[in-house]
């Protein structure tokens, strides 16, 4: 595939690193000659020096033959403009990095209005990942849809656990929580379970649930032994904000330590439920005073990587909490992994992973009606997210009465920011975002889910 990457910063670098190893034809664009050369010296990619919003530069980079343009410069507006420019040429799909929280709630609208294939927000992706680490035990894998409102959780059924010999019906009856088992993988074979399928030890199951329901499910089924109730975040940047919002949404006591007074006021404005402390996060007395030793989890999210490492090491030293350390810049992954830090996250690789996933699914010929796609269970099944833009045979009819194709399941419907885990009486309406899991063929449109 021919790919243009605009912006040769850290995300750009990670992107080219991964994409070039998958044998794509890559052209990078940046205004800074040295940054372009840094990438082209290392990877088999062509460099063009100039601004990505400049049509001439795009033509020079071969936009006419390009399948995918990824704009990851530091400036949101530049990225969006660059993607609009790319729209002048047909067949080019676009991905923009948009990180300003002002836009974050409207990404769906922006995406559709500007005709982008995807908008990514690195801070939000990082926050989601940290939230997952804090919320769930490491054996549970999480894929996030509809910007974090809905999650697909995959886990293995352990021998002697609550889930062994359970069915969807029994789970709903005994735990009283609304979870939907969407996919079961047994002996290398993936299938969509019905309500009375019995789970066996060793099965891998994929569950769709709201974040709060998922928490309850794991606690009640004793898959997760204890619940994280208190979290301390040092650094109230964008990632810290997204994380705090997610955590407070599911009722976790969240404390943010931020040194900038003005930022603290903003945060307390946006996050009324969180506790905002204005102070220096590296001040030992302040941390102790704010009860670091009693926290269940600790996230070091300041802008300085070295500070984050030391904060986490200190937190581990004075408490039993689980720590998450954010590393933005430094490369010495091997050394960092040797340190006694529980979890380390690298936002730029996370973002790159996310985009590469999309590029892979694009290669498989997914149409642009699909908002999002994830390969589940090593590609044995796929989860598609559709946006329903017009009335059709599938809209306005209760799901129980739709003649759905075999081997697929509707695992969630998002309507006006509300997530519904659908039952037979729910219906799909215009304006909904729908997630479908299938083990069979690809879909290009929501209408394809019913038999013709």
């Amino acid at each position: 595939m021919n790919i243009i990457v605009v912006g040769c910063g850290m995300v750009g670098y990670s992107l080219v690193e991964q994409l070039s190893s998958e044998n794509h034809d890559i052209v990078v664009i940046d205004e800074d000659e040295n940054r372009v050369r840094y990438i082209t010296d290392e990877f088999d990619a062509m460099g063009v020096i100039g601004s990505g919003e400049d049509c001439k530069i795009l033509v020079e980079a071969g936009i006419e033959r390009t399948d995918l343009l990824i704009a990851v410069t530091d400036v949101d507006e530049k990225n969006l403009l660059c993607c609009i420019m790319a729209k002048r040429f047909e067949n080019c799909r676009t991905i923009a990095r948009v990180r300003n929280p002002v836009y974050s709630s409207e990404t769906g609208f922006l995406r559709r209005e500007l005709g982008l294939s995807m908008i990514i927000n690195p801070e939000q992706i990082a926050a989601n990942e940290i939230a997952r680490i804090i919320q769930f035990p490491p054996e549970i894998k999480v894929d996030t849809f509809t910007r974090g409102r809905i999650e697909l959780l995959s886990l293995q059924v352990a021998e002697g656990s609550f889930l062994e010999h359970a069915t969807v019906r029994s789970i709903r009856a005994r735990l009283n929580c609304n979870v939907l088992v969407c996919l079961v993988t047994r002996d290398e074979d993936a299938f969509i379970p019905d309500i009375d399928t019995e789970f066996l030890a060793g099965d891998n199951i994929v569950i769709s649930a709201l974040p709060t329901e998922a928490n309850t499910f794991f606690l009640k089924s004793r898959i997760q032994p204890q619940r994280i109730k208190t979290v301390m975040i040092v650094g109230g940047g964008t990632t810290g904000y997204y994380l705090a919002r997610r955590l407070t949404d599911i009722g976790i006591y969240t404390k943010i330590i931020e040194s900038d007074t003005k930022r603290c006021e903003e945060l307390s404005d946006m996050l009324p439920e969180a506790v905002i402390i204005n102070g220096d996060g590296t001040d030992e007395r302040l941390l102790l005073q704010e009860g670091i030793s009693a926290m269940d989890a600790f996230a070091a999210l300041t802008g300085l990587d070295e500070e984050n490492v030391f904060l986490s090491l200190y937190a581990k030293n004075v408490s039993k909490c689980q720590t998450v350390t954010k590393i933005n810049r430094i490369n010495y992954t091997e050394v960092i992994n040797k340190m006694d830090l529980d979890s380390v996250i690298f936002p730029r690789t996370l973002t790159a992973d996310y985009i590469v996933k999309y590029a892979r699914s694009m290669m498989n010929g997914v149409s642009s009606n699909v908002e999002n796609i994830f390969r589940l269970e090593n590609g044995k099944a796929e989860a598609f997210e559709f946006f329903v833009s017009e009335a059709s045979a599938v809209t306005g009819v209760p799901i129980a009465r739709l003649k759905l194709k075999n081997d697929l399941i509707i695992c969630s419907i998002t309507r006006n920011s509300q997530v519904i885990i659908p039952g037979g009486h729910d219906e799909i309406r215009v304006g909904d975002a729908v997630i479908v899991i299938t083990t069979r063929s690809f879909f290009s449109d929501i209408k394809d889910i019913v038999n013709r």
Partner: protein, 480 residues
């Protein structure tokens, strides 16, 4: 310095050379020259075996930085030439290692300077091999190897940078491999078209094949003692045409292949290149018109010689050593200008000259407006300071090398014109010079020492100085 990877790359080069050597072997079989065929067969097997062994020496790491790239290219060209000269020695057609090496280096570097006084005495296989080395060296051995060499990431770029001519080497396609394939496709395309055209002008198949190798590779080894003088006027005009289009930056052909016609005809360098050819041809035609019976004949000779010298081919239709001084001066100046960057030609390159002329203009402007801020533009792109700096450095090293070589070659005691043009003709990969190394003479008169200097000049000129010079910097060989 990762020496293991250099050895590995040389292994690949020798494998390819075995393939190249098999061609003259078949030519020899066709003409029933079994002795020569056997010689080419033996050397091909030798290359195959050594290449096979070298490629299997385990690599500690596959890191290939710029210095490894430069050293690998320089050594590869040396090995290519050393193994390529063995057939001449085995058949005894060229006595002496230095002589055979001179002839082969002259072939691969597309110089076309010969130490042979009687070319026609060679076997068909050897004449074919001499011309074929031009074709291989013209676009470069690495450009060919990179179409299949399994090197990860941008490592291949370091090989391409070392070998391709021009002030700044870029890719026309995102992948090195695709760029290499595209370039060779254009190269083979021009070769095939030229070959067919030559056949139409009633050359024999052997003549057409050997002449097209020397023409598109801008080499200059003739297959007759009088170079191309015995060809018909039509054939000479066709050769002129193909020489001149081979000296054009191959980026133009890439643009034509991808249907970017507007861009294809807007390269500043190519415009200047054509302008220089047309002007020189007009001036020389006028200057020599009294020596030939008709105007068209003097134009034909002038155009051929200008095309031959500026593209650094070095064929000759007439003994231009007998031309008036003014015409000879123009030809010597053309020797130094050379062809376009990114072509098969050698010399200083029109684009470098363009950059230098424009920076002179900028310097003069700076005297008038001391606070002037001005970037130099070529093809509507401003040049980076990096390119500017390296072009200036290239010019300085280039002229130092010219004078150092003239000095060293001078120990043989020949006159200044001979020595100066011999160095100019080898460093710029042209072939014939003036006076004793003129088109009707050979380089045989020089001592072995002077021949070694000229061999060095040919390699340095073809690889654009730095890859060869870097080998003499001690720091290049250290591990740190």
């Amino acid at each position: 310095m990762n020496i293991a990877i250099i050895v590995y790359v040389i292994g690949w080069v020798l494998e390819f050379e075995a393939l190249f050597l098999s061609l003259p072997m078949f030519v020899g079989l066709y003409y029933k020259e079994y002795n020569s065929s056997l010689a080419y067969f033996i050397v091909a097997i030798l290359c195959l075996t050594i290449g096979f062994i070298l490629r299997r020496i385990p690599l500690k790491s596959d890191e290939l930085y710029l210095r490894e790239g430069f050293a690998a290219v320089a050594f590869s060209w040396l090995f290519l030439s050393v193994f390529g000269c063995f057939p001449f020695m085995i058949t005894g057609e060229i006595p002496g290692f230095i002589n055979a090496l001179f002839e082969t280096v002259s072939g691969f570097t597309t110089t076309g300077a010969s130490i042979l006084n009687d070319v026609e005495a060679l076997s068909h296989a050897s004449i074919f091999w001499r011309s074929f080395t031009h074709w291989v060296g013209g676009m470069g051995i690495f450009m060919l190897i990179l179409t299949i060499l399994p090197l990860a990431g941008a490592h291949g770029m370091n090989l391409m940078r070392a070998e391709s001519p021009g002030p700044s080497v870029g890719k026309v396609l995102p992948k090195i491999k695709d760029t290499a394939i595209m370039t060779y496709a254009a190269y083979i395309g021009i070769t095939v078209i030229g070959f067919i055209t030559f056949l139409f002008t009633r050359m024999s198949v052997f003549e057409a094949a050997t002449m097209i190798f020397g023409t598109v590779g801008t080499g200059g080894f003739g297959i007759y003692n009088d170079s191309v003088a015995s060809f018909t006027p039509l054939q000479i005009n066709v050769i002129t045409f193909f020489m001149i289009i081979s000296g054009i930056n191959y980026n133009m052909y890439f643009c034509l292949m991808t249907r970017q016609f507007k861009q294809a005809f807007s390269f500043e360098e190519i415009r200047w290149y054509i302008a220089i050819i047309v002007t020189s041809t007009c001036v020389i035609s006028y200057n020599i018109h009294h020596m030939y019976p008709t105007i068209s004949e003097s134009i034909r000779h002038a155009a051929f010689q200008v095309g031959s010298i500026i593209t650094t081919s070095g064929f000759s239709t007439a003994d231009f050593d007998k031309w008036p001084q003014f015409s000879k001066t123009i030809l010597v100046i053309l020797m130094f200008i050379g062809a376009c960057a990114g072509s098969t030609g050698g010399g200083f390159k029109v684009s470098r000259l363009l950059i230098l002329v424009k920076s002179i203009g900028k310097e003069l402007q700076l005297i008038i407006h001391p606070n002037l801020s001005k970037r130099i533009h070529i093809d509507h792109h401003s040049l980076s300071n990096e390119t500017l700096r390296s072009t200036n450095a290239y010019a300085a090293i280039y002229f130092i090398l010219v004078f150092a070589s003239v000095l060293l070659v001078g120990v043989d005691g020949f006159d200044f014109t001979t020595n100066f043009t011999a160095v100019a003709a080898t460093l710029n990969n042209i072939g014939p010079g003036l006076e004793l190394v003129g088109p009707t003479h050979s380089f045989d008169l020089y001592s072995n020492f002077a021949k070694c200097i000229l061999i060095f000049d040919m390699l340095a000129g073809r690889l654009e100085l730095f890859p060869v010079l870097i080998l003499f910097v001690p720091g290049c060989w250290r591990k740190y």
